[in-house]
């Protein structure tokens, strides 16, 4: 009987240890995915969102990039480096054109060229309703370079891959 009790206690400790390991020692890949989740959360919009929430989300989005982030989107003839403040203003202005937005990321391919740098290839799918009720959807492959600063993975470069070139 004592043996069974000990086995149950040992099993409980082991389970708690495994859970704690996954909570406190996330892999770098998991941390990067979490960062993309954060981006999606702060881009997404539900109908009737108030201005305070919109401003808070735009403010939070500045923390996901490095001081300056290079964005290259050849399909849109857009290529420039933006600051975190500019990104925040851009997100606030773009989100205001939509009544609802949904953003999801799929198919992460993550490489680490060195300890504090990550190359991420991912599919981004955005759907939304414009304020005039028109539905719009975009599906893109993104190639991103991230840099780890103070234990946080931040976007340094984003390239919108031209899968289909008109």
């Amino acid at each position: 009987m004592v043996k069974v009790k000990h086995i149950i206690i040992a099993g409980g400790i082991l389970t708690a240890g495994i859970i704690a390991f996954f909570i406190f020692f996330q892999s770098e890949g998991a941390k990067i995915k979490k960062q993309f989740e954060l981006i999606a959360e702060n881009i997404e919009k539900t109908a009737g969102e108030n201005h305070i929430i919109a401003a808070a989300k735009a403010n939070r989005i500045r923390k996901v990039i490095t001081e300056r982030c290079k964005i290259h989107a050849p399909a849109y003839s857009f290529s420039r480096e933006i600051s975190s403040d500019e990104l925040s203003t851009f997100v606030l202005s773009k989100r205001s054109q939509f009544s609802e937005i949904s953003l999801k990321f799929y198919d992460f391919v993550i490489d680490f060229p060195d300890k504090d740098t990550a190359q991420v290839t991912v599919t981004g799918s955005m759907e939304g309703n414009l304020n005039n009720g028109e539905f719009t959807g975009e599906l893109h492959e993104l190639k991103c370079k991230l840099q780890k600063i103070e234990d946080i993975w931040r976007l340094k470069e984003i390239e919108v891959v031209e899968v289909l070139r008109k």
């Binding site: 198919d107 290839t121 599919t123 799918s125 492959e141 891959v161 031209e162 899968v163 289909l164 070139r165």
Partner: protein, 119 residues
């Protein structure tokens, strides 16, 4: 790809379709992005070396007017002639009832084609 394939329709991707052959004109193909969880379904309208053009919604390949029976909704698309690169095909969706700027189409590498819908 409406009306041929509608959003939310259920299908399978036949991944062996292009193991021994290359995509042909008018095939509907599955194109991968970063991975295979989310794919694009498009129709091949031109092959490498072909010249593609849209005039008032009508597709021209190598200056020949193409009768696209799968397109139900007419468009007013205009696109200047462009040659398809080697190792690429030119794909367009069947749903032309959207502005040309919004519709995702163009040439893509054959390497990105992972198969075709099973039905």
């Amino acid at each position: 790809m409406a009306p041929t394939y509608m959003n939310g329709d259920f299908n399978f991707c036949f991944k062996l379709r292009y193991i021994f052959s290359k995509p042909e004109r008018y095939d509907v193909v599955a194109i991968r992005l970063a991975g295979e969880k989310v794919i694009l379904l498009k129709r091949v309208v031109a092959l490498e070396g072909d010249v593609v053009e849209f005039k008032n919604g009508t597709l021209f390949v190598n200056e020949k007017k193409i009768d696209e029976i799968y397109v139900r909704y007419p468009s007013d698309w205009n696109l200047s002639p462009r040659k398809v690169d080697k190792g690429h095909v030119y794909v367009v969706g069947d749903n032309r009832n959207v502005p040309i700027d919004v519709h995702q189409f163009g040439q893509t590498s054959i390497g990105r084609i992972i198969g075709a819908p099973l039905w």
